[in-house]
């Protein structure tokens, strides 16, 4: 196992701007806040950063989905890099991290700055129709087959798969409700989160139906903010400020059809999570029972439920029993999940908020939400249609 390149890479610093529904700063200012914080956290200087990676690349429109790309940041910070990359054609939202790992393992770079910036909350105030999927003109690309059918948001489109997952595996609304409650409770202990008022199962069932079976409290929160992470070669990481968080394994495989409508077989309900999970477990001797905390993607609650079984914490169909009354996935439980509030309550940082949170917990900086048991192993996952990826960090 030791020859796998990701094991030569560590997370050495993290940074997060204010996360909000109404930013007082521009997207660039938020990005600079997160990036400079991450560089400082690692004990590095700007001049130490020799690589830059971002997801999903600047989209150069008013959607707020990705207002800042790697080239803009390279110029703003006057970084001198050996390699850089930004783009959305990657295995899930953490693809920019996987790319950075590859660049470090290949020897292009020693310290790669990875960032994700969103401005969706403010963008929607400027245009109620602002969204990443359709811009009002003729639709091109893979989503064109959905264009005429009023499937203009991820929630309507993903509700199709939520419905099929509930149909195939008997997922109960009480279970997705418990996931929403869990994340909100964790957010109530996280000063950085957007929504911090605890919710009950009654609140969950009373929340507006968006697209069956999806309720408002199943959906994550569009927000403004930026998260940055410094990844370093393990040798260089030993000179950094923080304890080593080594990348133990990456799952980036895509073995089902990359399609938002033709994805088939088991993936119809589980989407692309199965093949990425299988790859991650093939690249480590660790087992699901070794995982101390899990940041499971929660663009929608059902993504988290699907990942419970896709990652091997339970068998498909056992998600209801696994979550139960929520105590197992709580901060005090066997497998604390989305300890910072997740995207449901912290804000939709597309997996980067949860990567920040994994490091925060493993470095025991979680404050009121710090998991009290010993923490060594965490996993992070992503989801959403054919988007899927996962990774495991181990504190040395």
């Amino acid at each position: 196992m030791a020859h796998y390149g990701e094991k030569k890479v560590a997370v050495t610093g993290v940074g997060m701007s204010d996360i909000s529904r109404n930013a007082t700063k521009t997207p660039m200012a938020l990005t600079i806040d997160a990036c400079m914080q991450a560089i400082e956290d690692a004990g590095l200087k700007r001049s130490d950063i020799d690589g830059l990676s971002s997801y999903p690349g600047a989209d150069n429109n008013a959607s707020g989905f990705s207002p800042i790309g790697a080239p803009q940041l390279q110029d703003a910070l006057r970084l001198k890099v050996n390699w850089f990359s930004g783009g959305g054609e990657v295995p899930g939202q953490l693809g920019a991290v996987f790319n950075a790992i590859g660049a470090i393992a290949a020897g292009y770079c020693r310290h790669v700055l990875v960032f994700r910036t969103v401005y969706e909350a403010s963008a929607r105030k400027m245009s109620k129709q602002a969204n990443a999927l359709f811009d009002g003109g003729r639709a091109h690309g893979q989503l064109m087959n959905f264009a005429p059918y009023w499937a203009m948001t991820a929630s309507v489109q993903q509700a199709l798969y939520f419905q099929r997952f509930a149909h195939d595996y008997g997922l109960k609304p009480e279970t997705t409700g418990r996931i929403a409650i869990n994340n909100r409770r964790n957010a109530s202990l996280n000063p950085a989160a957007i929504y911090r008022k605890p919710i009950t199962l009654d609140d969950y069932f009373a929340s507006e139906i968006i697209a069956t079976p999806l309720r408002l409290f199943d959906c994550d929160v569009p927000c403004d903010g930026s998260v940055a992470v410094v990844l370093s070669h393990i040798d260089a990481a030993r000179d950094c400020r923080n304890p080593i968080l080594r990348v133990e394994a990456v799952g980036s495989a895509q073995k089902v059809r990359y399609s938002w409508d033709q994805i088939s077989g088991e993936a119809l309900a589980r989407q692309a999570t199965i093949s990425s999970s299988a790859m991650m477990w093939e690249r480590t001797d660790l087992k699901p029972s070794d995982v101390d905390i899990a940041q499971l993607y929660d663009g929608f609650t059902y993504h988290t439920a699907a990942w419970l079984s896709s990652a091997g914490f339970c068998k498909p169909g056992e998600e209801n029993d696994f979550v139960g009354d929520g105590s197992r996935i709580a901060l005090e439980g066997d497998l604390p999940i989305n300890t910072g509030g997740g995207q449901l309550s912290l804000g939709r940082m597309h997996a980067y908020g949860q990567l920040h949170e994994a490091a925060t917990q493993l470095w025991r900086r979680g404050g009121d939400r710090q998991v009290q048991k010993d923490l060594t192993v965490s996993i992070n996952t992503t989801a959403g249609g054919p988007l899927s990826g996962c990774m495991m960090l181990v504190r040395e």
């Binding site: 109620k128 129709q129 359709f134 009002g136 003729r138 639709a139 091109h140 064109m144 087959n145 959905f146 264009a147 005429p148 059918y149 009023w150 499937a151 203009m152 948001t153 929630s155 309507v156 489109q157 509700a159 199709l160 798969y161 939520f162 419905q163 099929r164 149909h167 507006e208 139906i209 968006i210 697209a211 069956t212 079976p213 999806l214 399609s259 409508d261 033709q262 088939s264 119809l268």
Partner: protein
């Protein structure tokens, strides 16, 4: 005055997908099919992933299928959008791996179910004949 329903957003047509999006002008649901091994290929692509043939062309299918999955959307995403409406994936009878995103019409949304048999109808918007599905009669 009632707000007018906004026009359906449309796909950009090209030589690959033209037959699929305009077959409704003759009342036909056109799906790409390999001329050699007879596999269906969707979305329209000039390559057969089963036998690697380039001899792929659109053919009319029965227009019948089943609902693979669906959602009843309640949120009015833009002014005038008539809600609730049903977004679904329909698998065609000829090959259940061929899935067509669509709206289910001609039935109360709460009566829609997975595996329900449906048949195609078309709604013309500009030069595009948008395939919609309704329950099979009887």
């Amino acid at each position: 005055m009632e707000p007018t329903a906004p026009p359906r957003p449309l796909p950009a047509l090209n030589d690959d997908n033209q037959a699929f999006w305009t077959g409704g002008s003759e009342g036909k649901l056109m799906i790409d099919r390999c001329g050699d091994c007879r596999a269906y290929v969707h979305p329209p692509t000039p390559f057969c992933p089963a036998c690697e043939s380039r001899n792929v062309a659109a053919e009319a299918v029965s227009g019948r299928g089943r609902i693979t999955t669906f959602t009843i959307n309640h949120k009015q995403w833009m002014p005038g959008l008539p809600v609730p409406y049903v977004l679904a994936l329909v698998e065609i009878d000829e090959d259940p791996t061929v899935r067509i995103p669509t709206n289910i019409v001609g039935i109360a949304p709460e009566k829609v179910a997975i595996d329900m048999p449906v048949e195609v109808l078309f709604e013309q918007v500009e030069e595009v004949f948008v395939p919609l599905f309704r329950p099979v009669e009887g």
